[in-house]
Structures are given as structure tokens and as C-alpha cells.
């Protein structure tokens, strides 16, 4: 991105950069318009820095980590999203993240549909050394989560993280299945699930906003995990999700290894985008 002084701001180039970051055409144009309106006040400034600051203001000042419940009951975290975004990997990464901070956890292998999804999480559970609860083949995911809750409570675990099957937001019956998971864990603890994290692939374009809308309707989301930020995708759509739905990005995935994971930091994120 070129850096311009007031006299020579190339607005088209700026808009192109924002669109290239997958912020979406509407949001990109909106940002450029806002900045143009401010332009009178801008004097020999670095437009890139101004833009970052502008987007920074659209994002939350800080994202809350996941504190354990005060009640001493397991905090239930559902990990959801469309196919292949990185749910299973992120479940393992999050478990590792929480464990390293001294928390005890149980994982639920609630993707009972995809070939070898349970085995995949099983490998991860061994690697991060966290117990896993699974059901028989083709088990009802809600039943798996129910059993996993029982196990987590018996172990006095602070967290139960449920890895769910990938599903397109357009599949009504599969979205219903998620609601059932939500309902069933709610029978164990009416305040559960406490966190519903949507895993968004940073490679995704505008469709991620639609994904977020639909998942949010089915199971109210509390946060986003943006994955694959190590790729060339900038994941700008999380800004659009924040803007429209007010759902903050909580964590980022930056690789296939378990430590390639961190709480979302808006400054780092924006430095990589522009």
C-alpha cells in the first residue's frame, strides 16, 4: 500500500486495498467515504495509518478471554461453523491454550458424521493431553455433548469444549441439530452453552457474513475464531461481522500446529491487513 500525503491520496487505490482484504465492497466504500469526509481535516498524514485507526475504532477495544465460571460448573463452549474452516483444529488449540493457563478441560467429539472426525480429535486430545468423550459411530451429537458434560462435571473440569460437525448455514435440518445440542446441554446447566464460537476461515470472502448471520440466528454466537491467517487471506470479513452483528473476533489461528493460536489483537491484525 502506498502512503500518501493529503494532496495525493489515491482513494481508488485505498478502496482496492480494502476490498482486497475481503472487507466487502459495501464496508470498503463506507470506510473510504468516511475518510473522505474527514479529509478536510487530514493534513499531510499517512492515510494507511488513518485507515487502520478508523477500522480499529470499529473493532472492540479489547476482547475478553474465556474465564471459568464462578459457579464451579463446567463452562460449555460450542465450536461451530461451515465445512472445513478449522473447527477441530481450533478446538484442540483452544483446549491447549486454556490448559496452559491452568484450566482443566474435557473435549466432546460431537462431529459424529464426517469420516474420521472423531479419530482426528482423538489424536489431538492425546497431543494436548486432555480427556475426550466420544459416542458410538453415528451417535446423536447432542447425546455426546450431554454425556461429555456429565463426565466434565464428574471430573470437576472447568471447561467442556464441543467440536461439532461442519455444516453449511443453508442446511435447515443441520442447523436444527445444532439447536438441539444447545437445548440438551441447557438441561444440564440452564446457562449453558456459555460460549458459542463460530470458526471463520480467513480465506473466505463475503459469504462469511452470511454464515455468521445464519449461525447467529440458530445458536446465538459469542465470538469468532478466525483461522488460516497465516495464508494470504486477510479475513477482513470479520470486521464486517463485527459491524453488522456485533460479534467480536476472540481468537486467531495462524497455522496447523497447536501453538499457532492467540487471542485476537486488533493492532496486529490490522498491521497484517494493510
Amino acid at each position: 500500500v502506498q502512503r500518501f500525503t493529503k494532496a495525493e491520496i489515491d482513494w481508488d487505490d485505498l478502496e482496492a486495498q480494502l476490498i482486497a482484504g475481503d472487507l466487502g465492497v459495501k464496508l470498503s466504500m463506507q470506510i473510504v467515504e468516511d475518510l473522505q469526509a474527514q479529509a478536510r481535516k487530514l493534513h499531510d498524514v499517512d492515510i494507511v495509518e488513518v485507515t487502520k485507526k478508523h477500522i480499529r475504532a470499529l473493532l472492540p477495544a479489547y476482547t475478553t478471554p474465556l474465564p471459568p465460571l464462578i459457579s464451579g460448573k463446567p463452562k460449555v463452549v460450542l465450536v461451530v461453523g461451515v465445512n472445513g474452516t478449522g473447527k477441530t483444529t481450533s478446538t484442540a488449540k483452544l483446549a491447549n491454550f486454556l490448559k496452559k493457563r491452568g484450566n482443566s478441560l474435557v473435549l466432546a467429539a460431537a462431529d459424529t458424521f464426517r469420516a474420521a472426525a472423531v479419530e482426528q480429535l482423538e489424536v489431538w486430545s492425546k497431543r494436548v493431553d486432555v480427556p475426550l468423550v466420544k459416542g458410538p459411530p453415528n451417535a446423536d451429537p447432542a447425546a455426546v455433548c450431554f454425556d461429555a458434560y456429565t463426565s466434565a462435571a464428574a471430573r470437576s473440569a472447568q471447561f467442556l469444549i464441543c467440536d461439532t460437525a461442519g455444516r453449511l448455514h443453508t442446511r435447515h435440518n443441520l442447523m436444527e441439530e445444532l439447536r438441539k445440542v444447545q437445548r440438551i446441554v441447557g438441561k444440564k446447566d440452564p446457562t449453558a452453552p456459555h460460549e458459542v464460537l463460530l470458526v471463520v476461515d480467513a480465506t473466505t470472502g463475503g459469504n462469511a457474513l452470511q454464515q455468521a448471520r445464519e449461525f447467529h440466528k440458530a445458536v446465538p454466537l459469542t465470538g469468532i475464531i478466525a483461522t488460516k491467517l497465516d495464508g494470504s487471506g486477510k479475513g477482513g470479513v470479520v470486521v464486517a461481522i463485527q459491524q453488522e452483528l456485533g460479534i467480536p473476533t476472540r481468537f486467531v489461528g495462524t497455522g496447523e500446529q497447536v501453538d499457532d493460536f492467540a487471542p485476537f489483537n486488533a493492532d496486529t491484525y490490522l498491521d497484517q491487513m494493510l
Binding site: A117, T204, N207, G231
Partner: protein, 295 residues
């Protein structure tokens, strides 16, 4: 029923009534709408720009036909241009020697599922497909292919759990195929980001070992502006012969395909329309053009 885009264009063309020709000035608003539509469908910024230039050139000077409205006419020019870009003909798989199909793409794009789907398709055509698992990296990736292979009754080569080298796994797979008496072998590789030079180099080595007649790049229909970089880098390093777009059963417009097609010049061979094994379809440029246009 009018498409969303056409509806927008109707508005832009209200003022055109009475004009005999489409002119630079009276289509500028429509071109803006079209640009928006393309970008909203995740078509690459530059690809969209070039496309619009082409449409403009074609549209300018064209007689406004009496039978259709100017907006319909523009949409048609636009639609035809897209179909042209996407490739008029549907391209079949090259099943010639050495009968090796390499499947590659970004993480989670749908390679393993698509590999198995392709195997089923070939099996139904009376061919003898074989599956070779070369993803020795992702947890249970080999198992995933093995389960899918079993479900469709296609033999799967599973490298030893200790094998950590994907190139060696591919080579062992070739040996295994020979032992099996040959067949059309589909090699499923690990997902990787195109900016990861090390992993890309590994893929290049696999390609060199296999010398496949088909190298298929599998991409998610919801891919955003990264599409150009992905397609370009994969194509530059492993010379792609065909594209497969997955997850078209969702509502992603799939504009990324236009960019990928444009950058590689490779035909789109199939599209994935579900998680089930039989949910792989032949690509229809016409339907895809309509989808990207939001029609």
C-alpha cells in the same frame, strides 16, 4: 423473474428511453452496479475491472433492441462474456497414461472428500479407481480417506503411521498401484497455504515423482480475494490441469472461480454439491455465470 442485478440496472436505464444506442455516459451507472455485483460475488478486483472493460467495449455501439430492455441487453452481454470466461465447453477428465490424478489445494478446501467422490464417479463409469493417501501430516487424514474408500468400495493405499514424508508416501503409493495391477490412481495430498514455500516445494516434489496427467486444484466456493494468489501460485508451481469448486450446495456466489479460471486458464472439471460421495457434478458454465450474477 428479474434478477437482482437486472432490477438495479432497470433503474439505471430508466433515463435511457428513447436513446437508440448504448453510450459511454448512459451505461456508466450500470457498469458501476455490475462492478458492485461482481465484487460482492467475490470476483477479484482486477478481474472485475477487466471484465467490465470488455463488456463496455461490447455494449458500446450495440443497437438497443426493441424486443428487450437495455438492462436485459446489458445483462445478456455480461452473462455471455462470463460464460466465455468460465469456458464454454465442459472438460472431461483426462484418463490417459499414466492414469494418475493429483489432488491439491488449500487447507479444508475439500480435497479428501473430492478424491473419494471422483473415485466413485470413475467406478460408476466401469473404470478401476484407486485412492492413495499422501496426507501424512493432518491428524487422521489417512483414516478419513480409508473410511471414505471403504464406503464406496474403492481400495485405498494407507502409508505406514510412521511415514512422515509425503513424497515417499506418494512413491510408495505408485508401487502399491502397480501391485494392485494398475488402475486410475487418485492421490490425495495435505492442505497447504500457497504462501508456505516449504509445503509448496513438497507438492512440487510429489508432482515430479508422479508425473500425473491430471493435477486438480480443489477450491472452496466461498473463497474470497485470495483466489487469484492461490490459483496463480499453485499453477506456477505444479501446473494445474483442472479446477474443482466445492461446497456449491451453499449460497456462496462463487465469483472466486472466475478469478481462478482467468488466472490459470484451466478448465473447471467438476463441482462439489454436498458432503455425500455422489454429490459431485459436471460443471455448467451457464449456471455458474447466473449464480455469480445473482440471477
Amino acid at each position: 423473474m428479474l434478477s437482482l442485478l437486472q432490477e438495479k440496472l432497470e433503474g439505471a436505464f430508466k433515463k435511457l428511453r428513447g436513446h437508440a444506442k448504448i453510450s459511454e455516459s448512459n451505461i456508466s451507472e450500470s457498469m458501476r452496479e455490475i462492478r458492485m455485483a461482481l465484487l460482492e460475488a467475490d470476483v477479484d478486483f482486477k478481474v472485475a475491472k477487466d471484465l467490465i472493460e470488455n463488456i463496455k467495449t461490447k455494449a458500446l455501439g450495440e443497437e438497443v433492441l426493441r424486443t428487450v430492455s437495455p438492462s436485459q441487453q446489458i445483462v445478456k452481454i455480461f452473462h455471455d462474456e462470463m460464460v466465455e470466461l468460465l469456458g464454454r465447453e465442459t472438460a472431461p477428465l483426462d484418463l490417459g497414461q499414466p492414469q494418475r490424478i493429483l489432488v491439491a489445494g488449500l487447507n479444508g478446501a475439500g480435497k479428501t472428500t473430492t478424491s473419494a467422490k471422483l473415485a466413485l464417479l470413475l467406478k460408476k463409469q466401469g473404470k478401476r479407481p484407486l485412492l492413495v493417501a499422501c496426507d501424512v501430516f493432518r491428524p487422521a487424514a489417512v483414516k478419513q480417506l480409508a473410511v471414505l474408500g471403504e464406503s464406496i468400495g474403492v481400495p485405498v493405499f494407507q502409508p505406514s503411521p510412521d511415514e512422515k514424508d509425503a513424497v515417499r508416501a506418494a512413491q510408495q503409493g505408485m508401487e502399491w498401484v502397480k501391485q494392485q495391477g494398475g488402475g486410475i490412481a487418485i492421490y490425495d495430498t495435505a492442505g497447504r497455504q500457497e504462501v508456505d514455500d516449504e509445503l509448496l516445494a513438497e507438492l512440487v516434489k510429489i508432482r515430479e515423482s508422479l508425473q500425473p496427467q491430471e493435477v486438480l486444484l480443489v477450491a472452496d466456493a466461498a473463497t474470497g480475494q485470495q483466489a487469484v494468489s492461490v490459483a496463480k501460485t499453485f499453477n506456477d508451481s505444479i501446473k494445474v490441469t483442472g479446477l474443482i469448486l466445492t461446497k456449491l450446495d451453499g449460497d456462496a456466489r462463487g465469483g472466486a472461480l472466475l478469478s481462478m479460471k482467468q488466472v490459470t486458464g484451466c478448465p473447471v472439471k467438476f463441482v462439489g454439491v454436498g458432503e455425500k460421495m455422489e454429490q459431485l457434478e459436471v460443471f455448467h458454465p451457464d449456471r455458474m455465470a447466473q449464480r455469480i450474477l445473482g440471477m
